[in-house]
Symmetry: C2
Subunit: 265 residues, 2 copies
């Protein structure tokens, strides 16, 4: 049957895929994969090919953005085609256009979901999902922008937490680190002076969500600037108002200063 199945690879390595996703790959005629929208630090294409018994065709940004995924669409017009994507397939908005184009060409599409960095980081932190406002990506230095600072400020005014993803360019092996992201926010603070991101502001750094050894640390920005989070990917959370159970979670799970307890409600 001709169809295009988007399968989420989840986080970290080739064992992040669901049983359903693995079955789809095993039963498909063509298997494509991209590994540039997110970092899967320990993913091995060879091991994945062993698991599925299928040859995997790796697509680059060029294939999808310049060529509009023509190779995938052509394959899916004639046969069952699986497209493997890190995380949950449409959280990186990159592939929505491909799905729309497939549907317009009359190709049936389906999604097999995978664990997403979004829910993973929220879960690791112990903070309450329904207290997060808008998510933002902090760009690499050459694209530095005031937007992340403004999003954090707006969310804080509403008492909400902000999840900040840190930009990556996996094809160039470049990843924004937590200390660079904090420096970028402090630079904006210096201009805008709204007090959202000072040396004494509490933030939560998260590294390697989805691996067996994630690092989580909640502290003042001053202390986080010199904290060693180890390998990427890295992310940040700026807490808004804390429920007492959330403060407890940050103290126990992210080694936050115990003084956080008195700020909670």
């Amino acid at each position: 049957m001709n169809e295009l199945v988007f399968v989420g690879l989840g986080l970290h390595d080739e064992k992040g895929i669901s049983l359903q996703g693995l079955e789809e790959a095993k039963t498909s005629d063509h298997v494509f994969m991209e590994l540039y929208t997110s970092l899967l630090p320990s993913f091995s294409v060879e091991r994945f090919e062993m698991l599925t018994g299928k040859k995997v065709q790796i697509l680059k940004r060029y294939d999808l953005e310049e060529q509009s995924g023509a190779r995938i669409l052509d394959a899916a017009e004639e046969s069952k085609t699986v497209f493997l994507v890190p995380g949950d397939p449409f959280i990186a908005t990159t592939h929505v256009a491909l799905r729309i184009e497939a549907e317009k060409r009359g190709i049936k599409t389906r999604i097999v979901h995978g664990a997403s960095i979004i829910s993973a980081i929220i879960g690791l932190s112990g903070l309450h999902n329904y207290k997060f406002g808008k998510t933002v990506t902090i760009p690499l230095p050459e694209n530095a922008s005031e937007t992340p600072y403004n999003v954090i400020t707006q969310n804080k005014k509403l008492g909400l937490h902000t999840l900040c993803l840190l930009d990556i360019k996996t094809d160039e092996k470049r990843f924004l680190h937590i200390n660079q992201a904090l420096t970028q926010l402090l630079n904006t603070e210096r201009k805008k002076k709204q007090g959202t991101t000072t040396m004494q502001t509490i933030a939560v750094g998260v590294a390697r969500a989805g691996s067996t050894t994630p690092t989580l640390k909640a502290d003042t920005i001053e202390n986080l600037l010199t904290y060693d989070f180890g390998d990427p990917p890295q992310s940040l959370i700026f807490p808004g108002e804390l429920h007492f159970m959330e403060a407890e979670a940050l103290i126990t799970l992210a080694h936050a200063p115990a003084s956080l307890r008195s700020a909670a409600k």
Copy 2:
């Protein structure tokens, strides 16, 4: 080794678990599971036991909320214990207290993430993840509240989308349906008159996210009130400002009226 591993079951059935999660269950001394924080419509405990070769102990709300998960904690103090939870384990905030208690007792804890309803619904809709504001749950009629209306209104003022989860009581086999949720919001509109949720407002209904046959429909509330979404679980999205690619996604993937195009930016 004594440790407590929280494993996400993902969505829909027993094939939503990741390969890593399955391996954790196979190599653990005790396997506990709860199926009350979310609905996994086609999950079979028997099939899951076949897959893992382990006896699964099902816990009820009482075991976790009244008894504070004592059975899990006692097991994890002496041996490797896996706790299987629908979706991504900590998106339902219910289990954060259990994790904190385990850590305080000196039990090492880990998370193996699963696909979450949060990222699944956003992905299915084709809307951009970073344009969602605060998420809200619309309660069952006996707990009807103005909060969901207020959250939608606040997000809309900021141009943001709102993801609305619809409350479920799986132990009583009760699920809020999309038309009931819309009626509840229209009742609040009648009192507050802020124009956020009128008969002409566009919303997106999503049913059975994570299954092979999800239903997605974007339309005016007037039309959605009588649309048949089929079996639960069901959810709603209230779009804020739409990027033209998001409008295109709703038209192609959720059969929205083509007039949506002219409202997009």
